[in-house]
């Protein structure tokens, strides 16, 4: 019997600890994959959010109030994303949420935002996030569709007609695979091999051996680290000379670090952030890119990645929407986001509308090649 009173005591102590919130700030939620397989995407996103919070508050905040960005780490895990989304919506009562980092996590939490009438500005790439358009869901990265089109058009320009695709079995990879399979025939390209690998696989020689035995003239790999790095290395190990294209999912220094010399010659579509120094000065994005790179690299002493840029775009868009409507109410933010035109961000120049919740197209990408461990524009 006495153990009950003990249980009661223990339970009581825990519940008494519930932390209290609530000052007069504008609370924006952020959900990033700071740890886990997508950490090379999420960590720069988190850093960018912290940097922006500081910068914005230093210049007086938004509408005279300070902003507080409540950041949770979903550890690249779908379940943790769902639980964190609940926390942001029910416990922290935020007015908008930026993130998540990955497409899979975005799909998992979308409905909550539709139900709660709070805008979600995702930093994930899958086109399905905004197509078909959902009232409260937006995204900042360029769509995988345009990345695929960019890659396939480049392959076509080289007069190739047969390609092999190798994709990862997660949300991002499967979305990419669907888009590639849809677009390739329209450009007259035949997919002669369609391989899949798991997110935690450490050896893809089996799949590459299969591809080696097909007449493929180019290989398109769709995934995020570490898989593509392993594939890059396996390709060299097997002595395969076929050109290798990657998705924009590897547009970060970590990919080059993990694949080492195997990254030489790999082509991919990427936002202008990683080749900012080669962008002509009169391009509208140049000043934004240069400032972001300078601020980020000074503060965090590490190179930028395009993914941190997606977070910059998302947060600045929310701020712009609040300022445009002079209101921090979720419904107003949502309505004003749809009205934003010609917003110069790191990912591109955004033009939103009720039908377009991404605001970017093919022009947001540049074709990039990795040479001597660095990104170079393909001229």
């Amino acid at each position: 019997m006495k153990r009950f009173f003990c249980c009661l005591l223990i339970l009581g102590i825990f519940l008494g600890f519930a932390p209290a919130f609530g000052e007069d700030t504008i609370k924006i939620g952020a959900l990033f994959s700071v740890t886990g397989p997508a950490s090379f995407l999420g960590e720069p996103e988190k850093n960018t959010a912290l940097m922006l919070q500081e910068q914005i508050n230093a210049r007086g905040g938004v509408l005279g109030k300070k902003i507080e960005i409540v950041i949770y780490d979903d550890e690249t895990d779908v379940n943790k994303a769902v639980l964190a989304a609940d926390k942001l919506l029910k416990r922290d009562n935020v007015i908008a949420v930026v993130g998540p980092t990955t497409s899979g996590n975005t799909f998992a939490i979308e409905e909550k935002f539709e139900k709660a009438n709070i805008p979600l500005i995702s930093c994930a790439a899958a086109e399905k996030i905004v197509k078909p358009v959902k009232k409260w869901i937006f995204k900042t990265p360029q769509s995988d569709r345009y990345a695929a089109i960019k890659i396939l058009k480049h392959i076509k320009e080289r007069k190739f007609s047969k390609i092999a695709i190798i994709t990862v079995s997660d949300g991002f990879g499967q979305a990419g695979r669907e888009v590639l399979k849809e677009v390739a025939p329209t450009l007259g390209l035949e997919i002669v091999a369609d391989e899949v690998y798991g997110p935690k696989d450490t050896d893809m020689t089996a799949q590459l051996t299969k591809i080696k035995n097909t007449p493929a003239q180019a290989i398109v790999c769709w995934g995020t680290n570490p898989g593509p790095a392993v594939i890059a290395k396996n390709r060299v190990q097997l002595g395969i000379q076929t050109p290798l294209y990657m998705s924009h999912g590897v547009a970060s220094p970590k990919f080059i670090e993990l694949s080492g010399s195997a990254s030489e010659g790999i082509l991919l579509p990427a936002g202008r952030l990683i080749v900012a120094d080669e962008i002509p000065d009169k391009h509208p994005q140049k000043p934004v890119l240069v400032k972001y790179i300078k601020d980020y690299e000074t503060k965090f002493k590490s190179p930028i990645s395009t993914f941190g840029g997606h977070a910059w775009d998302a947060i600045m868009l929310v701020v712009k929407a609040i300022e445009m409507g002079r209101s921090a109410k979720p419904a107003d933010i949502r309505a004003n986001l749809e009205k934003i035109r010609n917003f110069v961000g790191t990912g591109g120049v955004f033009n939103f509308s009720p039908e377009d919740h991404n605001g970017l197209d093919e022009r947001a990408f540049e074709m990039v090649v990795i040479q001597k461990g660095d990104w170079k524009l393909v001229k």
Binding site: E75, S169, G198, D203, M204, A206, A229, G239, G260
Partner: protein, 293 residues
């Protein structure tokens, strides 16, 4: 598929299989001396790789010195585990022992995750990464290193157990603990040594494979399980069975992934494990001490 591709699959299978074999060997050594299945065996392999990366990147040492340090540290950790967590529960219920070794395995993983994060790490292959090709098959030099080191380790262990007094004493313990004690063998020391040697063998395996497969804080679980499967394939308690079982498992996995489905690759090992445990727990080579109800 061309013949060369079959050889390619066979080769990757043997490479990975060598590590399964080394892990299985670690299981066997501890099992033979103490009757315990050490659930933390996979973590020794993980530590071999992770600590080598740390020494390489953190202290800027060369590849070989890093591996040396990581193997030494892991061996010490193995011995420490025996002293601190295994010895107190050794006489007790089997359930408690299982929980103790699981607890250890999780704790090690947790510490590594805490200190190094969840990222994947790698380090360069020993003699560069240009593959050698002949007859259409590409062999990474690292694969040859893995196979060579594994064979050397096996030979050393064979020599150790058959020819040295210490090794023979450990074997004696596995046959009959009481009798060994009576003839003056310090059973405690033998048990400690078995953990240390298993850690050593596991760490070496982990370190030499990392340039090929990369490493992270959670590679230990799968490796441990597959190592155990290898033990069962070869017959638990039989060191050659363990090594042999590992190679077989690696080859089966490689062909399974290449010919059937790469998605279910990991499931093969466990499926084989379950089938063997249910129908032929003495393994393909016999000699095992599995108890049944």
């Amino acid at each position: 598929m061309e013949l060369a591709s079959y050889f390619q699959l066979l080769l990757s299978g043997i490479t990975v299989g060598s590590i399964y074999g080394l892990t299985a060997l670690g299981f066997t050594i501890i099992f033979n001396t103490t009757g315990i299945i050490n659930f933390a065996q996979g973590e020794f392999v993980m530590l071999g790789g992770m600590l080598a990366v740390f020494a390489l990147k953190g202290f800027k040492l060369g590849v070989l010195p890093s591996i040396f340090i990581s193997v030494v540290v892991t061996t010490i950790i193995g011995a420490a585990i025996e002293r601190i967590t295994i010895r107190p529960v050794r006489g007790g219920a089997v359930l408690n022992l299982i929980i103790a070794t699981i607890g250890v395995s999780i704790f090690i993983r947790g510490v590594i995750m805490f200190v190094f994060g969840k990222d994947t790490y790698g380090f360069p292959q020993f003699t560069g990464d240009i593959p050698l090709t002949f007859w259409g098959v590409a062999i990474m030099p690292q694969s040859l290193w893995v196979i060579a080191v594994t064979v050397l380790l096996l030979l050393w262990l064979f020599f150790f157990f058959k020819k040295t007094i210490f090794g023979k004493a450990m074997l004696a313990c596995s046959h009959d603990r009481k009798a060994s004690y009576l003839v003056g063998i310090s059973v405690n020391k033998m048990v400690l040594a078995s953990f240390a040697i298993s850690a050593l063998v596991g760490a070496i395996g982990g370190a030499i494979l990392t340039p090929i497969t990369l490493t992270s804080y959670d590679v230990g679980i799968m490796l441990g399980l597959k190592g155990f499967s290898a033990c069962i394939i070869g017959g638990l308690g039989n060191p050659f069975g363990a090594a042999f079982g590992g190679i077989i498992l690696g080859i089966l996995e490689s062909f399974g992934a290449g010919l059937i489905s790469s998605a279910y690759k990991d499931a093969f090992a466990f499926f084989i494990l379950l089938v063997l445990l249910f129908f032929r727990p003495t393994g393909l080579l016999g000699l095992s001490k599995i108890e049944r109800v």
